[in-house]
Amino acid sequence: MLEIKGLKVKLEEEDKQILKGVDLTVEAGKVHAIMGPNGSGKSTLSYVLSGRDGYEVTGGSATLLGEDLLDMETEERAAAGLFLAFQYPVEIPGVGNMTFLRTAVNAQRKARGEDEMSAAEFLKVIRAKAKTLKIDADMLKRPVNVGFSGGEKKRNEILQMAMLEPKMCILDETDSGLDVDAMKLVSEGVNALRDEGRGFLVITHYQRLLDHIKPDVVHIMADGRIVKSGGPELALEVENNGYADILAEVA
């Protein structure tokens, strides 16, 4: 599904190497988690994959279903099936949540040469999906993320994911700012989307999210590289002992 080989990335504005050769493959139907200390490059990886400005790829490759991601515009990556759930979802005053989602769904469909969704069909689908995420009609009408609580913003991210039905989902610290109940709700939303044809990359600091979204593979990232990979037990090890042991071991 997602194949990253030797990916090297520096900041565009300054001479600072962030990713120093990341190798990672996420297969369809699998959930991979990335953990790692602050500043290890986890969020940068998610931004570079989604095409955010400010980074320069200095080496390596990243493909989605064999297509070169790094060569595409951000919106083309989205249409190709990549989805990033933001750590800090952006507030957009003046753009209604519903308008935003319908524009996005239809833009992707158009880019893929599919028929656009009618207003009635869209309404039916979004109502059903919003209900399971406990997103009420008012939240759908309000401007995108404006005045939403931390939990509401994250639920809104998952709603977008559910509506867009991407092939590859990257969740960037989706657990940050969530209380226990909200985390459960969000995780249920993610789990409902787990599917044989879909891959997940879950970036998190904490093991507790992985109690709800059970990963198949856990990677530890440090200083711009994946330094260790293993099963779910690796996350438990981090939770109990911190990163010091693992980093010492690979140093």
Partner: protein, 428 residues
């Protein structure tokens, strides 16, 4: 104060080719206005009030030519049930207008303001304009009162069944037009006045608005799209107790537009909202100059102006709230913002508050910025292409001004038109 020679020469040069029209019973008002013009002098480029907008093409004797708008666009408000009053290059066109009889209102052309039957508008014509030069001179408004060739007097006694729609066509490339309307909304009546169209190559419009206690006026205006047209417009409003005045103006295109609005809140508990959205591309200069005077207790005023500028377009905002000593509990708000889509465009803002009462809440803000890159990335990350995402954010920026329109169907019509313009610009 004696006028400097240059100003006096320019003023006399302009006046030399003009004669006071003999229209209705307005001769006295016109003569008085002409005296005001001569004593103030027409605006010059060194006047502080014209610091960011060059008045020369508005003052010079000949109107610069303006090509007609080429396009098959349906005029605004077309599908709406309304009372249409049409002016073609400044002349009332009865054939294209509706029958002016409508229950609750009385509409007369200026020429029908006859001295013999004591017309209600006789005293109002020029009255609010004459009072509107303190503390700032507005000589082009006085020039209008003196030389307006046509216009209507609209009296609203009871709430009419539909909006009154003033439609301005521009069919001659060198038309130089003065229109002057007088509006009186009587106690408890409510009316919507729509205005649209380019009117003339050079257009000078004055509207005097007198809203009695408890009267309500909604005003929505869409200025014409002819690229080369010039316009200076003035609204002078006097508002009684518990009256409401809500005005929204949409401006796209026009090489020069200056919209002046002067409101005097004389009664208590009155509410005035003045809003404007403009979209300027290229050779476009748009100036909103607003002066709100609070002279009643517990009045609310709101100014919301949003300008989207690109390819060297210029936006100007001069807005003032004056709170007189007895205008306690005043609630004044003013925001002017520009969205600069490139580095070539400019926005000048001069927000002013002058407050002499001690129990008031007044706030103002002015910003100038580019498209929010974070929001743009977020939209694109969801698959919305760059151009479409920029349009969405542009419309979102204008939304606060459009929100000032009470009638949702009108707000929607304007939103959809803006959306279509943006989309067409993107697709060429």
């Amino acid at each position: 104060m004696a006028l400097d020679d240059r100003k006096m020469t320019a003023t006399e040069e302009r006046l030399s080719s003009m004669t006071l029209p003999d229209v209705g019973c307005t001769a006295k008002a016109r003569e008085a206005a002409l005296v005001r013009v001569r004593s103030m002098g027409l605006p010059g480029r060194r006047d502080e009030y014209w610091r960011w907008t060059r008045p020369d093409t508005l003052v010079q004797p000949e109107a610069p030519e303006a090509a007609l708008f080429q396009g098959d666009e349906v005029p605004f408000f077309s599908g709406r049930d309304r009372l249409k009053i049409v002016f073609v290059d400044g002349v009332f066109d009865p054939a294209r207008s509706d029958d002016l009889n409508l229950e609750g209102i009385q509409v007369d052309r200026l020429e029908d303001i006859c001295c013999t039957d004591d017309h209600w508008a006789e005293d109002l014509y020029g009255e609010l304009e004459a009072a509107g030069h303190d503390p700032v001179d507005r000589p082009l408004a006085a020039l209008n009162t003196a030389f307006a060739g046509d216009g209507v007097a609209i009296r609203v006694m009871q709430t009419p069944s539909k909006p009154i729609s003033l439609v301005y066509f521009h069919e001659s490339t060198d038309s130089d037009v003065f229109l002057h309307h007088v509006v009186r909304v009587e106690t408890g009546a409510e009316v919507t006045i729509l205005e649209n169209g380019p009117a003339a190559a050079r257009f000078n419009k004055c509207m005097e608005i007198d809203i009695a206690d408890g009267g309500t006026l909604h005003h929505v205006r869409a200025q014409g799209r002819d690229h080369e047209r010039r316009a200076v417009t003035h609204m002078f409003a006097r508002m009684g107790e518990e009256s409401v005045f809500k005005s929204f103006t949409l401006t796209a295109n026009g090489v020069l537009t200056r919209n002046e609005v002067m409101v005097e809140l004389t009664g208590d508990n009155a509410v005035v909202h003045i809003a404007g959205a403009c979209m300027g591309d290229g050779d476009f200069h748009h100036d909103d100059t607003v002066f709100i005077t609070h002279d009643g207790v517990n009045c609310e005023s709101r100014q919301v102006f949003k300008k989207v500028l690109c390819n060297g377009a210029t936006g100007v905002f001069q807005g003032k709230i004056l709170v007189k000593p007895d205008a306690q509990k005043t609630d004044g708000y003013q925001i002017s913002q520009s969205l600069l889509l490139d580095g070539d465009s400019q926005f000048y803002a001069k927000p002013e508050l002058e407050i002499y009462a001690d129990d008031v809440a007044c706030s103002h803000g002015s910003t100038s910025g580019a498209i929010d890159e974070e929001a743009l990335f977020y939209l694109r990350a969801r698959g919305v292409p760059h151009g479409k995402a920029t349009d969405l954010l542009t419309l979102a920026f204008l939304a606060e001004a459009l929100d000032e329109i009470d009638d949702e169907t009108i707000a929607e019509e304007i939103y959809e038109r803006l959306e279509a313009w943006l989309s067409r610009r993107r697709h060429g």
